[in-house]
């Protein structure tokens, strides 16, 4: 089972690849939209890449609830069970 920090680090790599954000800036309390400048289309790309990477499903309805990096990490942890 991946640790919370491992999930955050892998997610940071995805955000870097999709949106060009420095992976070190992808911290738990950062907002995707307000702090990292990841817009809704980039967020769709991040979610699809995360689904593949972590073997989880993140439905469209859920995406809007993932406001911060911490929200996304927590969702992935729960979904991985």
């Amino acid at each position: 089972m991946a640790t919370t920090e491992e999930i955050r680090a892998d997610l940071a790599e995805i955000v870097n690849e999709v949106a060009g954000v420095d992976a070190d800036d992808v911290e738990m309390d950062k907002s995707f939209v307000d702090d990292l400048d990841v817009d809704s289309l980039s967020m769709v790309e991040v979610v699809v890449a995360a689904e593949e990477k972590f073997g989880v499903t993140i439905p469209d309805d859920e995406v809007k609830n993932l406001k911060t990096v911490g929200d996304a990490v927590a969702y992935i942890e729960r979904a991985q069970g």
Binding site: E17, V18, D39, L41, V44, E45, V47, V48, D60, V63
Partner: protein, 337 residues
Amino acid sequence: MTRIGAVTGGPHAAILGLGAYRPSRIVPNADVIEAINSSDEWIQQRSGIKQRRWATPEETVQMMSVAASRQALERAGLEAAQVDCVLVATVSHLLQTPAVATAIAHELGTDQAAAFDISAACAGFCHGVALAADMVRAGSARHVLVIGVERLTDITDLADRGTAFIFADGAGAMVVGPSDEPGIGPVVWGSDGEQFDLIRQREDWRDVVGTEDSPGSGVMPHLVMQGNPVFRWASFQMAKVAQQALDRAGVSIDDLDLFVPHQANMRIIDAMARSMKLPPHVRIARDIAEQGNTSAASIPLALDRMYAEGDARSGDTALLVAFGAGLAYAAQVVTVP
């Protein structure tokens, strides 16, 4: 039992000529932002569109189609009378019947060519290329003219933030005919009617007209689209379909010269290219920046720009992938004429 005679066509089919018609009105973002309370920056960031082409009243579906077709025929070195079938992919010919293809075939001067329209929205042009290649190989036609044409501005709500800045007008055409070598690869196509509502005409014409008891809206049933789910489907599912078209044609991604996806949105084009891991030498069509999204017309228009700007050369191997309302999709590998 009486034996029915059969015919066969040539062993292979190829694209013999390409034509395009871009409407005369150039509409920059500055001219569409007021109605949707937006900005040039937002539109470019969201779609990569800087300007689009909109048709004037004189630039009808038929007029644009004939212009693009004449260029395609000339480049193919063919006369209209040598065309046996005219296929028109469109969703914006607003006279429901007869098919606009018949009027186009007549105006071009074909000898009563078979002519009909294809309703597969933004995927229509690649459906047409697939049908044309099969007709040529099967012997039901020798030369087929495939046209993609739209006047989407007629069915776009210019106050809708989700679509007003995207949709545009134009026409493209290709002549498909017999060849010594395969110039059109196997089609990979399909539909996902479960997502019928993602992109659609807002309401049925009967609801526009209404009844005596229940008056209709009386308003043009514009196109409506759910942007984010469409983005997700197009960027990732269509990248897989594009790869399947390469696999079925036996073409390695390393041997590909051009990637010509439906010009839906620059963000989808970029996401597809990333998802497919396109090598850097593959030149990617980006006509949408100057032309907007012209649905069925976008692929021939995009290839025509690559041709004009020296990015596409005769003999290049191009991957076409088209997708849209339905959801319908089609992809094939072709040789540039």
